[in-house]
Symmetry: C2
Subunit: 250 residues, 2 copies
DNA sequence: CGTGTCTTTGAAGCGAGTCAATCAGGGTGG
DNA sequence: CCACCCTGATTGACTCGCTTCAAAGACACG
């Protein structure tokens, strides 16, 4: 996964050279989806700068004032919210082309932490200027709305998972979702390297890390997966999918 | 709760007379929040019509093409998603001033069902015209974005609840959330009538209906609540809140 | 080559689910 | 107006899946 993406010269976590949306290979997965030439040029002017975030560093954290959205350019992030009493919940994992910070619009403050799970780069999208430009360009406005709406749909899917699935179904859904998104980015649909720990997977899926580990082992016993630490290979895709369709209980 | 709202003459589920946002008593809770006179007048022209939905009827259902958003004017709704294998999850309960249908923007189709839990009225907001108008009015654009973002934040809160809370904590969080929203609408902060069944509460909270019922009974034993069927009175608000702050395990 | 972090695996305990019986209301029709 | 039915709520007894606690193993990194 990481081998395809040449690491840029390590820089301070400050802003670096900008790269044009119009020539970005992610443009069909990211905010510019479906935009035409003149609009793309304007978008280039909007996306102010890139920023490097090293593994383990936070791109932003809950409570910080909201200035900009971020599009993941390379790398991998998790977002997590925490309650007053210190409970912690991973609310999502973001890969290239996905937006971070949408939650912050509601209160002009970030409501979650965004942590890089590997050395990453993001494009900074000043929110005030995004609103301006999307008043001018129907396409941009519409694709921005679609992205927000898609996040809502995704969250509803996670609620379904957390509310009514067994551990093995959750893990299966998680892996299928990951591989599908990786495939859309040109990676193998059957082989992946997890960027997150068992504990982070468990937090996302509402399970304890031991349960995640046991479930991986079980799926390996059943010949559905090959699990070597964070290297996963899907041996029986149909079998994995079947876990979701046969809700054995009903 | 229902006694405050005079029922309009029962009408067919078709569209009925329109009511202006500019003179709506919900305007500070709904889409028009913070808008000034000339903008409100334009919004009046946008919100095409009201529609009556009887208890048990669906306002829309998953798969239907997306035309309009709906603002709840009176009454109470639930939204639920279901997976291919027939699993069902209540993703939210909506009351006066809240928007329905935001999920549909992403794919031009509704992705969940919206069911009225009591006789209700909604204002229909044609989406294409909302986009038009929000290109013209910064205020409208911004408040629409805030509403979508708030939905994302809410969903993250539910994920935290489903992922890491015990049954009694979930029920406490649910009741506190409901009463807070009811209070913002002028109802009592300590006394409410549930519009949904134990099963619907359970689905929302990731619990079985028996567990919801047992939890209510337990909270009544402890003197925190008075529970008589769907009539709930909060006797010890601090005690209810404490359930959320003392995560007894940590 | 040690050290710390992450992962795996086992054994025991518990919280929520399941199954089943009873009870309470609300509405309907005789 | 009452008997009846139907849906929803409550409660109990038992089961099961996941968590908890604990120990050992596997890598990655300095």
């Amino acid at each position: 996964m990481e081998s395809d993406i040449p690491s840029p010269a390590p820089a301070a976590s400050a802003t670096t050279l900008k790269v044009a949306c119009s020539s970005c290979n992610l443009r069909e997965l990211c905010l510019p989806v479906g935009m035409s030439r003149p609009e793309l040029d304007r978008l280039d002017a909007l996306v102010a700068a890139r920023r490097t975030v090293k593994r383990g560093e936070r791109l932003f954290q809950a409570g910080e004032p909201f200035q900009a959205l971020y599009a993941v350019r390379t790398g991998f992030f998790k977002t997590c919210v925490s309650s007053e009493d210190g409970r912690d919940q991973v609310t999502g994992f973001q890969m290239a082309g996905e937006l971070l910070g949408l939650d912050a619009i509601s209160q002009d403050r970030h409501t979650c932490d965004a942590v890089a799970l590997e050395d990453s780069q993001v494009c900074q999208i000043p929110y005030a200027r995004l609103e301006e430009l999307s008043r001018e360009f129907t396409e941009l406005q519409h694709s921005f709305h679609k992205i927000m709406s898609r996040e809502i749909v995704r969250d509803h899917g996670v609620m379904l998972l957390l509310g009514s699935m067994r551990a093995d179904e959750r893990v299966a859904a998680f892996l299928l979702n990951l591989t599908q998104r990786l495939q859309a980015r040109g990676f193998s649909p059957t082989s992946l390297v997890l960027r997150m720990t068992r504990e982070e997977i468990g937090s996302y899926l509402g399970l304890k890390l031991e349960t995640v580990s046991r479930t991986f082992s079980k799926l390996q016993e059943d010949g559905v997966l090959e699990v070597r630490q964070r290297h996963i290979r899907i041996l029986d895709l149909a079998g994995l999918r079947a876990l979701l369709n046969n809700s054995s209980a009903c």
